[in-house]
């Protein structure tokens, strides 16, 4: 295996970021140039990643230079592809938004690629400090992107909140790292795992350190009681960034934590199980309660992302020895990635053209004005709600099946109840789009829907449906089965144990 190939995706993203940075110095470049360049960089990265897609491998490249700080394995490869594809979609879907919001100038894409670089690193990280730095690269970029339009008080406020809380909780990560270092004398994940296997000495210290790291994780995925920032920050950010945070960033966080958890699973699971159980329950509850009462779509989607966090924690519970159930999480993440980018991106597409704050009422009559967008939104909402024939259902199905299989029947039932309630707030939006006539005073504008964003949204919609239907219609149209995803996932998990 060509070891250069493995590192190329990250390099190309970084180069892309730098190129964009330099481009932003010149005013002659328009937004579309930035979009083109960033997409090209990302596509190149995807192509490089695809070279090893599906293979089972785990390599530590250039040990002298990289010092085993990052590891290249199928697992990282899978997550890299997810992150890259997710970002490509974000950029493409946000095309019309970026064109309208002139403040999203060149540096924006540079920073986005920097953050993506950080996230890719996070997926590859095999060491806590490297992970933390990668984590901070990604976070800082996101902070900046949130507050990119510093003239808008709400953006700055959102950025500030995210920054304060993020830094605050970040220190706990460092504290945890310090404690782990104190216990084991190393911060390398593989070595920590080995340490755990062979020695019972200082094990409590290690546990405590990991628990501190858990806090950060819980904060980033917005589990109860670390969820409060989500509503404010998601709402205060440009909707494109909201999509980015909700989907891509979340995956990156999971990439790291899942690696950590699967490797350390056998020891720490017993300790954390009650924590996860309680948090699942409370996260689901609080998310549901919040989502039920929102009037702004972005807030509703934000609150519902808390509910989805609840399902993911449930999936964590059901992980099982050796990460047997981890494909449920990964599949769910993919499902959520597609649906969330779709939903947020679509909102961004609409915001770009109507300049409204997008409450439920603003969606009234969308189906009559722009049936295509309404249909796509419906698909994404159905996927989020977990209605069959969308990928969201499959994701939920795997998560709940694994949960039941692992013996958490009651929790799974409660999660299903949350799903049931979620039907209400998702379907309310569908109802708004389809069942009301538009009450806007403005005469019906003719929108230009023949543009990149809409095609990207369409592609997302197709993927969402394909993920839900899979090979069920295989005898009519030969398309790859969604089983492939599960196989790849299993390979990825297996590569952690090489």
């Amino acid at each position: 295996m060509n070891s250069i190939l493995l590192i190329l995706p990250m390099i190309s993203v970084l180069i892309g970021a730098l190129v964009l940075m330099f481009m932003s110095m010149y005013d002659t470049f328009k937004i579309r140039h930035f979009i083109t360049v960033s997409v090209i960089a990302l596509v190149i990265a995807v192509i490089f990643s695809m070279g090893n897609f599906g293979d089972l491998y785990s390599e530590s490249l250039f040990p002298v230079i990289l010092g085993d700080r990052i590891v290249f394995d199928s697992y990282a490869n899978l997550f890299s592809i997810l992150l890259l594809v997710g970002t490509i979609f974000i950029i493409l879907v946000g095309e019309s938004y970026a064109n309208k919001k002139t403040y999203l100038k060149g540096e924006f894409y540079s920073i986005m690629l920097f953050s993506l670089f950080g996230m890719l690193l996070l997926a590859h990280a095999n060491e806590l400090i490297t992970a933390y730095i990668a984590f901070e690269i990604a976070s800082f970029s996101v902070y900046i992107m949130v507050g990119f339009n510093s003239e808008d008080g709400r953006r700055v406020e959102a950025m500030f909140k995210y920054l304060v809380l993020g830094s605050f909780i970040g220190v706990f990560f460092l504290l945890g790292t310090a404690l782990i270092y104190g216990a084991t004398g190393t911060t390398n994940l593989t070595e920590i795992a080995e340490f755990m296997q062979k020695s019972q000495e200082n094990i409590a210290l290690l546990y405590i350190g990991l628990t501190m790291i858990l806090f950060t994780f819980l904060f980033k995925i917005a589990a109860f009681p670390f969820q409060s920032w989500v509503l404010d920050v998601y709402r205060g950010s440009p909707v494109l960034i909201t999509a980015y945070m909700a989907s891509v960033f979340k995956i990156a966080i999971f990439a790291l934590f899942l690696r950590l958890y699967i490797q350390e699973f056998s020891m720490i699971h017993e300790l954390w199980e009650p924590i996860f159980e309680t948090l699942t329950l409370l996260t689901l509850l609080i998310g549901t309660w919040m989502a039920l009462n929102q009037t702004v779509i972005k807030s509703m989607l934000a609150a519902s992302s808390i509910v989805h966090t609840g399902y993911l924690i449930l999936a964590f519970l059901a992980l099982g020895e050796g990460g047997a159930g981890s494909y449920a999480i990964i599949f769910y993440l993919i499902a959520y990635l597609l649906s969330a980018i779709g939903a947020f991106g679509l909102v961004s597409h609409i915001i770009a053209q109507t300049k409204v704050k997008i409450t439920y009422d603003d969606f009234k009559g969308l189906a009559h004005e722009r049936p295509y967008l309404a249909a796509m939104m419906t698909i994404f909402l159905l996927s989020l709600a977990g209605i069959p024939s969308t990928i969201g259902f499959m994701g939920k199905f795997y998560v709940f099946t694994e949960a039941i299989s692992a013996g958490y029947t009651l929790l799974a039932t409660l999660a299903i109840l949350a799903t049931m309630i979620s039907i209400y707030y998702y379907f309310k939006l569908i109802a708004m789009m389809y069942f009301y006539s538009s009450d806007k005073e403005i005469p019906l504008q003719t929108f230009d829907d023949k543009r990149i964003s809409t095609y990207a949204i369409g592609a997302l919609g197709l993927l969402t449906i394909w993920g839900g239907i899979g090979s069920i219609v295989v005898f009519f149209v030969p398309i790859p089965s969604i089983d492939e995803i599960l196989v790849v996932t299993q390979t990825a998990i297996a590569s952690l144990f090489i």
Binding site: F160, K161, A204, F215, W289
Partner: protein, 630 residues
């Protein structure tokens, strides 16, 4: 003889009904069709049915055979095998003979009566269907097929009663008839089912049931017997399910005649006779039936004495006569009961037709006092009416006398003296109210109206004439031995094992004379009271009897009103206020609680950090406790 004739007896009227219905729809939707076509279709098909029945009857009379025609398997599940099979034995041929005969006549009558009615074709369609259903009922081989006819008769009567559907009362009466009948149907159905399972699911045809009747336990038999009788109560208007019958008079007169005289109401009697093997096994229930019949007879007769609507009086008299029939079948005197059915068909049909002619002549007036006032010269009708009245009052040698006397004698000979007494008293009342009717309509002095002659159409005249002959002479068919007769009907219906008479001839003579005397005294009282009645002075319209003992009102309160109240309670209180409100309240409460929680989301970053700290603190505490042992 080809047994496939049986089905044609049913098919002819059915075909007539369908043709008429189709033509009628064509008539109203696309193009007008002359009434003649409907009239021809409507009368010819019943006539054909009658002819076929007659052929069968004659054949049967000659060879003494029993016909059975298996058409197709209607239903076959597990042990329940219900063939669509027709049975032409003595009983059913006897019934169908006079059903088709009287039916044909009534059809003929209706041609004139319904003339120029916009629903002419529809009427004949319903009518033929009715006849078809009735014949299916009569010819059925098993109770389920019988039930198809039974209900078909019910629905046709519903359609006919609410024939003039635009006025509310008619439809309400139709509904009432249907629903009260349905109560009976329920009983019938449950009775059949009980019997079927009581006989260990051995079979459902009448013949197999008769064979296996010994398999069943007595309580189940009694239960099914009673339930079946409830069916008969509904159809034959016995206490307590009689209320529909008087209201049913709102339909066109031929309907009343057909429904009430010859066919539908006698279905109950026929059915009990059909199940004679069952009732033979449970004599107690038979006695119960007899008492119900007796009281119904008395009750209806009492009410009839004070009614003013001509058709209602006839309706109550029908109910009363049906009471007699049930006395007969209840006491095991099946052939006498059926004989009474037979004679009653003639004179009651005739009375109804006469009343119809009268009503038609005097512009749809039904109040007897008004009719008396506006009297016209109607020679045919007045004569036939008189014949009918005499016949029903039980004056020999008219038909009613023989059949009624056979029943009373039978009751006396069986030792059921109370029933006998009631029957006798009812006979007195019958004579009284029928002659009251007659006197008021035709005899009482009438000053206002000029007596102009009203021409009676031939198609009304012929049936009346034919029926009048029947009313006069039909009784001789089953002349009792004591009067030198030879029990033709009893012999024909020997399969029913009627209870034989056990009386000396002397006693019979005494009874005959007694009943004649009672009828005569009834006539005398009526004569004294009404022969010179002042028509301008109406009888008082108050009192328990005039208001039919307030039974309708009581039923209305107990069943209808309470059901309505219960309905409102269910849908408004239980559904809306309890179930739905609790569910919606629960969900609203859930949402509201979440809304209350949004105060936590106060957008103040310090608080957010604080929540996080609380969470971390709690988790740390938990981890601390958990790690105590490590």
């Amino acid at each position: 003889m080809n047994t496939s004739l049986l089905i044609w007896i049913i098919l002819f009227p059915l075909l007539g009904g369908l043709l008429n219905g189709g033509f009628y729809l064509y008539h109203i939707k696309i193009q007008k069709i002359p009434e003649l076509l409907f009239a021809i279709i409507g009368t010819v098909f019943p006539l054909l049915a009658f002819v076929f029945t007659l052929i069968l009857f004659l054949d049967m009379n000659e060879h003494g055979s029993v016909y059975s025609q298996h058409l197709f398997m209607w239903l076959d599940i597990d042990k329940l095998t219900i063939p669509m099979q027709l049975l032409g034995d003595n009983l059913s041929i006897f019934m169908s003979l006079f059903v088709t005969f009287v039916g044909t006549l009534i059809h003929l009558y209706a041609v004139a009566y319904m003339k120029d009615d916009e629903g002419f074709g529809k009427f004949f369609a319903y009518f033929n269907l009715f006849l078809a259903s009735m014949l299916l009922l009569v010819l059925a081989d098993n109770p389920i097929i019988l039930f198809i006819g039974w209900e078909g008769v019910g629905v046709c009567s519903y359609l006919l009663i609410s024939f003039y559907y635009k006025t509310k009362e008619n439809v309400v009466a139709g509904n009432k008839a249907f629903l009260v009948n349905r109560v009976g149907d329920l009983g019938f159905l449950l009775g059949v089912i009980t019997l079927f399972f009581a006989l260990n699911e051995t079979g459902i045809s009448f013949s197999s049931m008769q064979e296996n009747i010994t398999l069943a336990s007595q309580p189940l038999l009694i239960l099914s017997g009673v339930l079946l009788f409830i069916g008969a109560m509904g159809k034959s208007a016995q206490i307590p399910l009689y209320t529909w019958l008087p209201d049913a008079m709102l339909g066109p007169t031929p309907i009343s005649a057909l429904i009430h005289a010859a066919t539908m109401v006698t279905a109950g009697v026929y059915m009990v006779a059909r199940f004679h093997f069952l009732y033979d096994a449970i004599p107690g229930v038979g006695l119960f039936i007899a008492y119900v019949g007796a009281f119904s007879a008395l009750f209806a007769a009492i009410i009839a004495t004070r009614q003013t609507d001509i058709k209602k009086i006839l309706a109550y008299s029908t109910m009363s006569q049906l009471g007699y029939m049930f006395i007969a079948v209840g006491l095991g005197l099946y052939s006498s009961g059926l004989f009474h059915v037979f004679t009653h068909a003639f004179f009651k049909a005739m009375l109804f037709m006469g009343a119809g002619g009268l009503i038609l002549a005097i512009h749809h007036e039904q109040d007897i006092f008004e009719l008396g006032k506006q009297r016209k010269k109607l020679p045919i009708i007045s004569v036939t009416f008189l014949i009918g009245v005499i016949a029903i009052s039980g004056i020999p040698p008219f038909a009613g006398f023989f059949s009624k006397d056979a029943i009373l004698t039978g009751a006396f000979s069986g030792g059921h003296y109370l029933i006998w007494l009631i029957g006798l008293f009812t006979a007195f009342l019958t004579a009284f109210y029928m002659f009251r009717l007659y006197f008021i309509l035709f005899v009482a002095p009438n000053e206002q109206s000029k007596m102009e002659t009203h021409k009676t159409p031939w198609s009304i005249g012929i049936p009346l004439f034919v029926l009048a002959i029947g009313a006069v002479f039909a009784g001789f068919i089953n002349l009792p031995e004591v009067l030198g007769g030879n029990h033709n009907v009893d012999t024909w219906l020997a399969q029913l094992n009627s209870t034989p008479l056990d009386l000396s001839h002397a006693a019979e003579y005494v009874l005959i004379i007694l009943s004649i005397a009672v009828a005569a005294s009834g006539i005398y009282v009526a004569y004294k009271r009404y022969a010179n009645y002042d028509l301008s002075k109406r009888e008082t319209e108050e009192g328990l009897i005039y208001n039919k003992f307030y039974v309708d009102e009581v039923y209305n309160t107990i069943f209808v009103k309470s059901a309505q109240r219960l309905s409102t309670f269910f849908s408004d209180v239980v559904d809306n206020k309890i179930i739905d409100a609790s569910l919606m309240g629960l969900s609203k409460g859930f949402v509201a609680f979440g809304r209350g929680l949004t105060f936590l989301q106060n957008a103040n970053v310090r608080y957010y950090a604080f929540y996080m700290l609380i969470g971390m603190s709690a988790i740390s505490y938990y981890v601390y406790m958990k790690l105590q042992g490590v």
